[in-house]
């Protein structure tokens, strides 16, 4: 039986089909979950895709946080379930306090849509274990509010506890600067492109691994991340780890 991965669709999600496609490329079974769903249909893991949930009104991700499906996702995460937020999904997870930090308006004020490089800081997490080696991964970003922010104490804590998953990097793999460096597309502090929670089961990143899964479309560097996630979800499902699904 293939691994069933939920893809949450909010009004305004627009990368949900890409997430579904990426899951199919790695042989998983995507399960589309509407934002009004109060339960998660017994899926093994959850992806919150990119887009502009609820128009990104007020702050990116904040209205989505209060949707019925997010209550179920929060309970799923609290029970140890794997959750990956991509772009807008990352913003939703920070607003829901399932991930640390906040995503501010890009330092350059412009919406940025182009290829970037990011380097995995760790290769031993459910989100990175299939990447194989520490090398710069090429994939697109497309966002206006992707500047990762947390106060200095929190940033130190994230680094100390190994919660920084990805940083923006140059072609040679060296970390991008915070300011004045095109390799850091939004001015994220310490060039952080993705983080995970302290428990290590919820992660988010601004770049789009799900649109970099086929070489014919320019890059398949995102495959490692999608595959890691699906493999980890499959492993957890067969281990029969207790995972809360809704109404916890």
């Amino acid at each position: 039986m293939s691994t069933r991965i939920g893809v949450v669709v909010f009004p305004g999600s627009n990368r949900d089909i890409d997430a579904v496609n990426a899951l199919e490329v790695v042989g998983a079974e995507p399960v589309v979950l509407w934002h009004e769903a109060a339960t998660l249909d017994g899926v093994d893991a959850i992806i919150l895709p990119g887009g502009f949930a609820y128009g990104d009104y007020l702050r990116a991700g904040v209205i989505a946080r209060f949707s019925p499906v997010m209550r179920a996702v929060a309970a799923f995460a609290a029970g140890g379930g794997l959750v990956l937020g991509i772009c807008n999904g990352f913003q939703v997870l920070t607003e829901a306090h399932l991930l640390p930090g906040a995503l501010l308006r890009n330092r350059g004020l412009r919406f940025v849509s182009r290829q970037v490089r990011l380097v995995p800081e760790r290769l031993d997490t459910p989100f990175t274990r299939a990447i194989g080696e520490r090398r710069p991964l090429r994939m697109p970003v497309a966002h206006g509010e992707g500047c990762f922010y947390a106060d200095a104490a929190t940033l130190d804590e994230l680094e100390r506890d190994g919660q920084v998953l990805f940083r923006y990097a140059h072609e040679d793999g060296t970390t991008a600067e915070e300011t004045g460096d095109p390799a850091n597309p939004n001015g994220s502090l310490r060039a952080i492109a993705g983080v995970m929670n302290a428990a290590g089961n919820v992660a988010g990143l601004m770049p789009h691994p799900e649109t970099a899964v086929e070489a014919i479309l320019g890059s398949d560097d995102g495959l490692g991340i999608i595959r890691s996630f699906v493999d980890s979800a499959a492993a957890r499902a067969t281990e029969g780890q207790p995972m809360a699904v809704g109404g916890r």
């Binding site: 007020l58 702050r59 904040v62 209060f66 607003e95 930090g101 906040a102 501010l104 308006r105 890009n106 330092r107 350059g108 004020l109 500047c147 922010y149 947390a150 001015g187």
Partner: protein, 94 residues
């Protein structure tokens, strides 16, 4: 009897938080030939009417709304302004 209470919530980036919008506004001052303006911060103002038995109850609702939804406490501060009460039967001020 319930009353309508009109409030405004001013949300602004906390001191020290990067505010690219404020900086962009500041950067435009040169083009206007304006000098002596600094520390520009861009926030937002949300106006709303709360129907409640008394002002304290109405304010408690606004407090909750401001801290849980209208602002992100990590990066933003908020201040609540009360604009007074009107009878429900009269309706909210335009």
């Amino acid at each position: 009897m319930t009353m309508d209470f009109r409030f405004a919530v001013n949300v602004s980036p906390k001191p020290g938080i990067l505010d690219p919008q404020g900086r962009a506004v500041e950067g435009s001052l040169d083009h206007l030939g304006i000098e002596g303006v600094s520390a520009v911060r861009v926030g937002r103002r949300i106006e709303l009417t709360v129907t409640a038995a008394d002002e304290a109850t109405a304010r408690a609702t606004v407090e909750r709304l401001a801290s849980e939804l209208l602002s992100n406490p990590l990066i933003e501060a908020y201040a609540i302004e009360a604009a007074g009460a009107t009878s429900s039967t009269v309706g909210a001020p335009a």
